[in-house]
Amino acid sequence: MVRLADVPEAERNVIIGLPLPTYDTNPAVDGPPLRERRVAIISTAGLHRRGDRPFTPGARDYRVIPGDTSAGDIVMSHISPNFDRTGYQADVNIALPIERLREMAADGEIGSVADLHYSFMGATSPEEMEVTAHELARHLKADGVDAVLLVPI
């Protein structure tokens, strides 16, 4: 609900001190200019279409959100008292900025917007997302995506 800097010290230390993996390599892929790229969003807000199976604690799977899903059909089942939901309630773009990407594509700032976007539930540890992340990479490439925007919650 608050900025990390404003979180009580004990809670802040829990968040900052979460066990995170580190890697020996830093793979980074080059690509065409931004104005030619096809962009997809991966959110870790636990978003999905209304009626989809909700996320449960520790979920390592993902949900697919077609780009033409109306804002009213998107719900969030990532539940935590640590983050604000009212911004998302007021405007889904605060967590899933598909409309903003469309505007940027229309204005020529990016090439295009992917047909499909994805959401994980952020409370899941990175290691547990590995298998599904590799699976997702195949789907993204099949959609012609060459730029992925990762959006936390």
Binding site: V29, L34, P54, I79, P81, N82, R100, E109, I153
Partner: protein
């Protein structure tokens, strides 16, 4: 996020990301990250402000144009968002007529939901969307379910969801419904003020706190373990 970017880049997909916890990005070193000084839950900063959101997006996406030899790149977004600013002395504009009664918690919650229904409906009509619905139940049923949980009467598992899952989703739906109703009323509230209002002044907040306290002696292990995440840490 850092793990996802590592796996995707390993598979040949370029990534960039928004970072809300700078320390995590410093540790995991994703190739491209824009740290934003916003409250948790608002990675794009400011709701209903397309120009603001586009500046954030541009900041993150422009990192894709930097030479790959520069990675890992961690850049700070220069702009604060209004939602993160505490508004000292803000008068709470949410005001619904209290219903006189001496009833149970369940009845008082039902009264509150009835009183706020016109505002929730108005908000839905205006915005065309609602975050309510994760539990896939009517708000009246959600109120009854959570009030019953205060008395130790818990719903059984259903549709592949455990008792704790059902109660968590119901609690989050109750919060969403109430705050959307409040948001439809005249006036502006910061996210902080809305949070304080929910937990300190609504029967819904009182119900969730009571359900949490009741969960401590519940025989349902999973509910006892999960109930605390419904409540802000400072109120547990």
């Amino acid at each position: 996020m850092g793990g996802l970017s590592h796996f995707l880049e390993s598979d040949g997909l370029a990534t960039t990301q928004i970072s809300l916890v700078r320390e995590h990005s410093e540790t995991m070193k994703p190739p491209r990250a824009l740290w934003v000084p916003f409250i948790l839950g608002r990675p794009l900063g400011q709701p209903n402000d397309p120009a603001f959101q586009r500046r954030v997006l541009r900041g993150a996406l422009d990192l894709l144009e930097r030479p790959v030899g520069d990675v890992p790149i961690l850049v700070d977004h220069p702009e604060e968002a209004d939602g993160g600013v505490e508004l000292d002395g803000l008068a709470c504009p949410v005001n619904y007529a209290p219903v006189e009664h001496d009833g149970s918690l369940a009845n008082r919650l039902a009264d509150e939901l009835t009183a706020l229904t016109i505002w929730y409906d108005l908000g839905l009509e205006r915005s065309g969307r609602t975050a309510f619905g994760g539990a896939d139940r009517a708000i009246e049923d959600i109120g009854s379910m959570l009030a019953a949980a205060v008395d130790g009467v818990l719903p059984g598992p259903a549709d592949g969801l455990s008792t704790a899952d059902i109660l968590r989703l119901a609690a989050e739906d109750l919060k969403a419904w109430i705050t959307e109703a409040a948001d439809a009323q005249p006036g502006e509230m910061s996210a902080y003020a809305l949070k304080a209002w929910f937990w300190e002044q609504t029967v819904a907040g009182e119900t969730l706190l009571a359900a949490y306290r009741a969960s401590k002696i519940s025989e349902n292990d999973s509910w006892r373990a999960q109930a605390p995440i419904l409540i802000p840490a400072e109120l547990r």
